[in-house]
Symmetry: C2
């Protein structure tokens, strides 16, 4: 049998050309088995001549696994609506950490674009899925469960039973850490910008804020700010806050998205940071670090969260029934100039 024109050469074509068995070709090309050096070279020459490339998908098939883990980021959902993707540092670090851990284990990391219908989900070719920030009753988890793809989440699933394994920071403790810090630095009226959503980190943060305020006899000053596209929602909310009769002396931006808005609102109104108003952010980012002055923020170590999530997933893949314990990645408070009055 001779090579068909136009068709890619297979291992069989090489075997025929070199007048050996397919097994010999496989051995020669993978450096296994015991072949005479001369034979090995001849096979390699023929393979080269025919432009033979092993079919990656056939190799994958034989090995029994796709060798890829899918990462589902919420920000991907906005791709089609907005031409421009808002790539948050937090998610990018998660992606990097996941990729790193996946690759260390011989897997690659697949980004999944917005997936709405079940049909679309079915075509996700991955051995498992890491899903970021599930909402309550997240339909995506339902579908993935139906399809039988193992899932690990980053940030806890608020409602699902049984709860998929997850990696996360301690959102409740983090909010209190931030509040305690601001209190130490002399803030007495601490406002909070946070989103109305069913995400666990939002809920946990709000709860911590409410409880802390109650414990300390502070009036809660929470302003809901949508997390969507509007870059200046946070700006407007902050402006409104600062113009109140009794303005706050500290503002917590719970999300990375709010950072620029809060800072620009202060600048616009001529309020100095930290002298007139302290600013702290719930999620560290480049813009917090590079701001003038640098902003106090909580580093959730998203890189580690990504790594941890992938490792949990690989655990699940290895021992089928196992349902590993959640991993709580410790967070770090970076005390910076925005919350310290000289």
């Amino acid at each position: 049998m001779t090579t068909k024109r136009g068709a890619k050469a297979t291992i069989r074509d090489v075997a025929a050309a070199a007048e050996v068995s397919v097994a010999a070709v496989s051995a020669a090309l993978n450096g296994k088995g015991s072949l005479k050096a001369e034979t090995r070279e001849r096979i390699q020459r023929e393979a080269e001549r025919l432009g033979y490339r092993p079919s990656r998908v056939a190799q994958a098939f034989r090995e029994g696994r796709i060798g890829a883990i899918a990462l589902v980021l919420p920000l991907m959902d906005s791709v089609d609506e907005q031409q421009r993707l808002i790539g948050l540092d937090y998610y990018m670090a998660i992606a990097a950490g996941s990729a790193s851990a996946a690759f260390a284990a011989g897997y690659s990391l697949t980004l999944t674009p917005p997936l709405s219908s079940r049909e679309q989900w079915r075509m996700v070719r991955a051995d498992g899925v890491v899903l970021c920030d599930p909402v309550a009753d997240d339909e995506r988890l339902t579908v993935l469960d139906e399809i039988g793809v193992p899932v690990v989440t980053i940030d806890r699933d608020p409602t699902r039973e049984p709860m998929p394994p997850y990696a996360a920071g301690d959102n409740y403790a983090n909010m209190r850490l931030l509040l305690d810090h601001l209190d130490d630095e002399g803030a007495r009226r601490i406002a909070l910008l946070s989103a109305d959503s069913s995400w666990a980190w939002t809920q946990d943060g709000d709860r911590a804020y409410a409880e802390w305020c109650a414990e300390h006899g502070h009036e809660p000053l929470r302003v809901p700010v949508p997390l969507g596209k509007g870059d200046n929602d946070a700006l407007e909310a902050t402006v409104e806050l600062l113009q109140r009769a009794a303005p706050p002396d500290a503002v917590i931006a719970s999300a990375e998205q709010y950072t620029a808005g809060v800072v620009n609102a202060c600048r616009k109104l001529g309020r100095r940071i930290p002298d007139d108003v302290m600013v702290a952010v719930g999620v560290d980012s480049r813009s917090a670090l590079q701001n003038d002055p640098p902003l106090t923020a909580i580093d959730l170590h998203p890189h580690q969260q990504g790594e941890a999530a992938v490792r949990l997933l690989l655990d699940r893949l290895a021992h089928d029934a196992a349902r590993p314990d959640p991993v709580i990645v410790p967070s770090t408070l970076h005390r910076r100039a925005s919350t310290h009055r000289g």
Copy 2:
């Protein structure tokens, strides 16, 4: 033959359980063929009962393609050195655009972590690769060519023959556009921060700058700034520039990474933007847009570049021999307050 304990159920197990042929099971589960409704339901029930999930890798194998495209970003290279990934808006938008185009065509997008050895490259499971910012004599392209994986680059490969298809902005024209704009706004001493590298966009930009300066009788003020990890290399370079005896009245930050450094240097020295010094950026980003004042910048439309690159790649995959023409994605100059003196 009965289902082995522990092993995943295959289509054969379902067939046995439902007492039909494997072909019937396949047809029932995929909604094809002509099966009696009753049979179809019975098969579905059995599949459900056994927890049967079609093997995605076997499906992929049958279909003859992996169904994934790999995206190689330069920033991924820093993952292991630095725990924290610097996720540039530019690359994130490329990722989003690529993902979007890939998915529209039934492919998913795979991120590949740093790949050094040939061995590592061999395990990249993708039908093709989009490689961002190739350097001169990029070893990765050599390896990919050896392995026989089709490649498309974003930004032109400076040296390789035959040159792989690519998508890119018009770097040369963009630099001149920026310079003309600053000239129009009254700048007379325009400095350029750019990197010493073999990347095409750097080279093109430098060439455009040199030629433009010569044409306009301006003294070239180019300062090389490494693109690596150091966040404050750009800051130091700018400080040095502004403290010269004859300081520039405009600074071009050619890379997104320089943005914060340049702005903070101005702030540190008390130079107002744009009154004392204009600032423009060669790559638009959130930090440019959200800065106070917003920074004039060139929008390279990286989302479209990602889309274009993937489409080129899919073209190559479809018609094997074809070597499509490069796609030059038009860029947009966003004129913002940082280069306009009220």
